[in-house]
Amino acid sequence: MKSNIIKSIRITLVLTVILCVIYPVAISLAGKLSKGRGDGETIVVNGKVVGYANIGQSFTQPKYFWGRPSAVAYNAAGSAGSNKGPSNPDYLKDVASRIDTLLKYHQYLKRSDIPAEMVTASGSGLDPDISPAAAQIQIKRIADNRGLTVAQVTDLVAKHTEAPLLGLLGPAKVNVLKLNVALDELKK
């Protein structure tokens, strides 16, 4: 027994050096060569960081494309989904009120135009993307608000639609922050 304890302590120490110091530091050094230098990729406008490419942010103003509802209000110091069950009556009331809000700001829409992700909270609360369909339904509102033509905004959405991986794996998506940054630049 005693010899087992001593072996356990010694191998734990040796492995700690390998697994908790050498391995992570080596990966961290290699990560310096990646796009965000291992700190996370940021988006910079006029020399100022306006967000992280992969972290969604709250858009509520009518001149911007909106992202998905978030259980943590896009506060990226934490992360969480709503964890509401599919049959929860309070949750279904929330969904109904989100639908009403969307319809209020987009009076040209029918209910069946609204994709589910625009009225349901994401898993992380930080989902940076919406589907192309969810961007499409907002185009007219944005165009009206910014004095742009629908064609201009449609073009921009098309340009920012990211195809599935290799063109055939997984869903297509639109990064809301990148799209909105491009929208602001278009105005100039």
Partner: protein
């Protein structure tokens, strides 16, 4: 065919393409035959020397298990104190506080037993020191513990009669140096080059496009996320686990993570066959497990892509499926796929919130964890399945009226008793645990704990019951995923699930290894015309039937009260 479906087919194919050859490699490597990673021998010899270990020392099953328990106890004690003191230790750029005693108790057990239930939240509950020196360290060694124990069991059946299960330390160390660490390096690099942070920088702050001040948690996450999947651990860096856009930034990382959590469980099954020179047995077990996996997978995908009927009633389009708790970059198909595999292999990482999945998806998730033997966690999956095998051998023996045998060894009363006790342990822990929780919830709703029992549940009615049932099931299966709406950071859940986890880990390891050790000592009976052949399709089906009957009998009533009742309460 849509691109979401292609995505999971690609994941499935890739998993087989990597997992199958890996099984052959592991069998050779653990048997000490020549493999291409032999260049690591000097490193291993150095570690043996520094640790005072003789890797060639034979161990019988008792010595083997003693060594395993000894080092696991050491980690439990050492980790418990470090967790409580994290605020006084370095590498804590975000100033996270020390854990309370009950949370530390739960958390350290959770990581030592490869469960990773996580009643804390990564961003605010753990410093970088804890995440690396305790959590990531345990990710590696808990997986290696499971693999080493499984190889010990394999060794028992490699020779005709033996008392030698091999050397625990040698299997343990080689699992790390020849398998977990090299693969982790590859996966961590893929992640970091796709946007997962890997540097030691602390929280960042910026002003958003709309002018809000936003804080972003970061840190050396890629390193931990790699091993969290390869080791079927599942404990993530961020609270939202692999749904978090930094933990799983795009579809490529999603494929990488889901494939990496499956390859070792698949490889271990085939490794069993190759290692004991009964290739066919490995493939029959693989077949049974794969059929089981697909039977859980296909209905899950269909239930998620079908969408939420209550939301459909409001007139909303759900073109890809139910989206609550899911991320746009993965979509419902890939999330359903992930939720099935993460529950059958005991990883418990999630790329979407299980609490918000459809009632029947929840049913399949629960059932996957209750069975816990369709591939299962690193090493322990095979051990769990071995118990089902022994029960199937015993029942088949009764049916044909012969003394049951397994691989040339008589299976007698002692072995069957151990197997039966291990089989009964899971339903006992899950049912008793859930019953006590439900009792406390209904009768002691105002108990003065960190979260009052009356406020535990995030959802009412049947779904609320499912939250409690899921937590106990996940703890027993050492899975670690949750219906995370449950308010679980309080003394009741921390202590109760802590006990369930530790029993649900070590007894199902000790039991099978002991049975294997006992069987291997017995005189080998040469195969004859009257021998029950265990590597046939017929016996595979028999085992499958045993698994179904045992689990249906044990869990149907509880499942009927939770997900099944919720399903029937939804609008059609």
């Amino acid at each position: 065919m849509n691109t979401e479906l292609f995505g999971i087919i690609a994941s499935f194919v890739l998993m087989l393409v990597i997992g199958i050859p890996l099984g052959k490699y592991l069998a050779k490597m653990f048997a000490g035959e020549k493999v291409w990673t032999d260049f690591l021998k000097p490193l291993e010899n150095g570690i043996y020397k520094l640790s005072g270990i003789n890797p060639n020392e034979p161990m019988n099953w008792k010595q083997f298990l003693k060594a395993m328990m000894c080092i696991n106890l050491l980690w439990l004690v050492y980790g418990f104190f470090v967790l409580m003191q994290q605020d006084k230790l370095p590498l804590n750029p975000d100033g996270n506080p020390g854990m309370t005693a009950d949370l530390a108790f739960n958390t350290i057990i959770s990581f030592v037993v490869n469960c990773n239930l996580q009643h804390y939240s990564g961003e605010s509950g753990a410093s970088y020191l804890i995440q690396h020196f305790i959590f990531m360290f345990l990710h590696f060694v808990s997986a290696a513990t499971g693999i080493a124990c499984a190889v010990g069991l394999f060794k028992a059946f490699r020779d005709k009669t033996t008392t030698d299960l091999g050397n625990f330390w040698a299997y343990f160390l080689r699992s790390i140096t020849r398998l977990l660490l090299p693969l982790s390096i590859v996966v961590a690099l893929i992640l970091t080059f796709n946007g997962t942070p890997s540097s030691y920088a602390g929280k960042d702050q910026f002003i958003s496009l709309q002018g809000d001040t936003v804080h972003v948690s970061r840190g050396p996450a890629a390193q931990m996320i790699a091993i969290k999947h390869l080791g079927t651990n599942g404990g993530g860096w961020f609270g939202a686990n692999s749904a978090h856009p930094l933990e799983n930034p795009n579809y490529l990382t999603n494929i990488t993570e889901i494939v990496s959590q499956m390859i070792i469980p698949i490889a271990m099954v085939l490794c069993f066959g190759y290692f004991i020179r009964r290739k066919k047995l490995g493939w029959v077990i693989f077949g049974v497990m794969m059929i089981g996996a697909l039977l859980l997978l296909i209905p899950s995908i269909s239930s998620e892509t079908g969408g939420n009927t209550a939301i459909a009633k409001m007139g909303i389009a759900q073109p890809t499926g139910a989206m609550e708790g899911k991320e746009v970059r993965f979509g419902p198909t890939a999330t359903a796929y992930w939720s099935t595999f993460t529950t059958i292999v005991s990883t418990g990482s999630v790329n979407g919130m299980h609490d918000s999945t459809m009632p029947l998806t929840g049913l399949w998730q629960l059932l996957g964890m209750m069975i816990n033997g369709f591939f299962g966690g690193c090493g322990v999956g095979v051990l769990n399945y071995f118990i089902y095998l022994i029960i199937a051998v015993f029942i088949s023996g009764l049916m044909v009226g012969r003394t049951p045998e397994f691989l040339g060894h008589k299976v007698e009363a002692r072995e069957v008793k151990i197997a039966a006790l291990i089989t009964l342990l899971s339903p006992f822990l899950i049912m008793a645990g859930t019953a006590i929780a439900a009792f406390v919830f209904t009768n002691h709703g105002n108990a003065d704990w960190a979260v009052k029992p009356s406020a535990w549940l995030n959802n009412p009615s049947f779904h609320g019951f499912s939250e409690m049932l899921y937590e106990m099931t996940s703890s027993n299966a050492n899975n670690g995923s949750g219906f995370e709406g449950l308010g679980d950071n309080n003394i009741f859940w921390n202590v109760s699930t802590g006990i369930v986890m530790i029993l649900g880990r070590f007894l199902p390891i000790i039991g099978p290894v002991a049975v294997a050790g006992l069987l291997a000592q017995k005189k080998h009976i040469p195969e004859s015309a009257g021998t029950l052949k265990t590597d046939t399709v017929t016996f595979g089906l028999m085992t499958f039937a045993v698994i179904l009957v045992l689990n249906a009998l044990s869990y149907f009533p509880a499942l009927a009260l939770g997900p099944i009742a919720e399903f029937f309460s939804m609008p059609k």
